[in-house]
């Protein structure tokens, strides 16, 4: 099976300081990959670079075989890669429904189209809030909204940056349910997370990033067993 997303030798600088030192990643169709690491390890920067929000100085990012390093975010999104940033970034003055509608986009042929009513089905709490401005939702509701918003673009792959950050445990578990359901439908997902327990429950594979480099890669079961990696890089 060929890789959906393939990143190699990715280097990113903020001004004069280097953040990523040659990241290599490979994600295959149907995988839910967890990108784990401490605060400041380079997770978000990796996600941003893939999404086109920051421009890499070196390296290749291929999506479905197409080179896309240096593309603008909208071009990346149009290739079928949906990005959910860590601080969620709802459009606070728009209603929940409008947040979803702004993102609506046709997907590739043959895929089950995501529509607003289908989002209501998988995220019923949003339907009750449909006319509320997104800025007045709770953190958990906003997180559900931005995942739903990402789905509205009918992407072939999802990039989720810290979906569990700052949320109550009960909300985290319901987001976990959603991700497991998506995985069951065959979705391809890359999740950047600090919360390893959350990932152990939803991901199929894992990589660990530290100081801008990938230091470990295995399937999720392997990570579960590897106490050394967990204590050294994930502070558990």
């Amino acid at each position: 099976m060929s890789a959906v997303l393939e990143v190699s030798g990715l280097e990113v600088f903020y001004g004069a300081s280097q953040i990523l030192f040659g990241i290599d990643l490979k994600i295959e169709q149907g995988q839910t990959m967890a990108l784990l690491g401490r605060n400041g390890a380079g997770k978000s920067t990796t996600m941003k670079a893939i999404a086109g929000v920051v421009a890499p100085r070196a390296g290749r990012i291929a999506f479905g075989g197409k080179q896309m390093a240096g593309m603008k975010p909208y071009a990346v999104a149009r290739l079928g890669l949906a990005y959910v940033p860590e601080d969620r970034q709802v459009f606070p003055e728009h209603t929940v429904r409008d947040n979803l509608l702004i993102a609506a986009k046709k997907g590739p042929q043959g895929q089950d189209e995501w529509t607003v009513s289908r989002i209501w089905q998988v995220l019923p709490l949003l339907e009750r809030l449909r006319d509320r401005p997104a800025g007045r939702l709770s953190g958990g509701e906003q997180q559900a909204l931005v995942i739903g918003r990402a789905l509205m673009g009918n992407p072939t792959m999802l990039l989720l940056d810290e979906p569990s950050e700052g949320l109550a445990p009960i909300v985290v578990s319901s987001i976990g349910d959603l991700l497991r359901a998506l995985r069951a439908q065959g979705a391809t997902v890359l999740i950047a997370e600090q919360n390893m327990h959350f990932c152990l429950g939803v991901a199929s594979d894992a990589v660990v990033i530290d100081k801008g480099k990938i230091v470990y890669r295995d399937n999720i079961a392997g990570l579960r067993e590897n106490a050394e990696v967990r204590s050294q890089y994930l502070a558990m």
């Binding site: 909208y74 986009k105 990402a150």
Partner: protein, 300 residues
Amino acid sequence: MDLDALGRCVSTASCLVTQTTSGLIAGLLLFLVAAGLTLIFGVLKVVNFAHGTFYMLGGYIAFTTLQVTESYTLAVLAGGAAMAVFGIFFERALIARVYGQDVLMQLLVCYAVVLIFDDLVKMVWGADFLAMGMPPAFQVPPLFIAGGIVPPFYAVLIGIALVIAIALAASLSGTRAGKTVLAAAQNPTMVSALGVNTDRLFAVVFAIGAALAGLGGALAAPVRSLTPGMGFSVLIDSFIVTVIGGMGSIAGALLASVGVGLIRGFGTIGFPTFTDGLIYVAMIIVLLLRPTGLFGREVV
């Protein structure tokens, strides 16, 4: 200062109506130009100091179009359309290079455009002032409404300005494209990450803003003088309106335009030599009470 005269005017129906309508006229014409400015700032976060230049060019292009076609309607449309095209060019070629940079950089780029086009206008249309003249359809006596005087030409201008204000507000809050624009105003990166071509969106918004200024210049051309550098005073007024209303707020711009118009209308009676001073004072007071203007959001 002549507070007696002001008191007398406020207590006479005809003076009240006439000065209010003349304030509305001045205010709504100002709104057309200021709406474009506030739209551009709201979405692109660019302080467009070249906005007065669009207004000027709109007027001159309307002047020439009228000479060639003898149609005021065509002249107005040409003024607006030409500025839409020019706006796209200006945004793509110049402004796009200074996005996210120091406001001073943006200011200087716009200032350069102001200087260049003031001279270009002088080369093309001459240093002398030009007057377009009133279209024959409007060469009719004014109407008297409730003792106040309303010229038909201005009634039409008020109508057009109001239609544009409503259309702008409705398309921003009522259509998907408009909502996307508003979303981009708050968070352009996120909108881009959702697959919206923000480069094109910005260019289109800039074009609409420029077209509004051009339209303002063209609509007012029959009653105003065309001179190189004429955009300046309109620019200053538009800025005041935009700042009072809150940068980026169309509703704020409308309210502030009408407010400035009314200050002019009654200021000329009560404070004939300090009308502009009144407006600056109003702006300073508003900014002190509400640092982001009447309807503005905090801008980083």
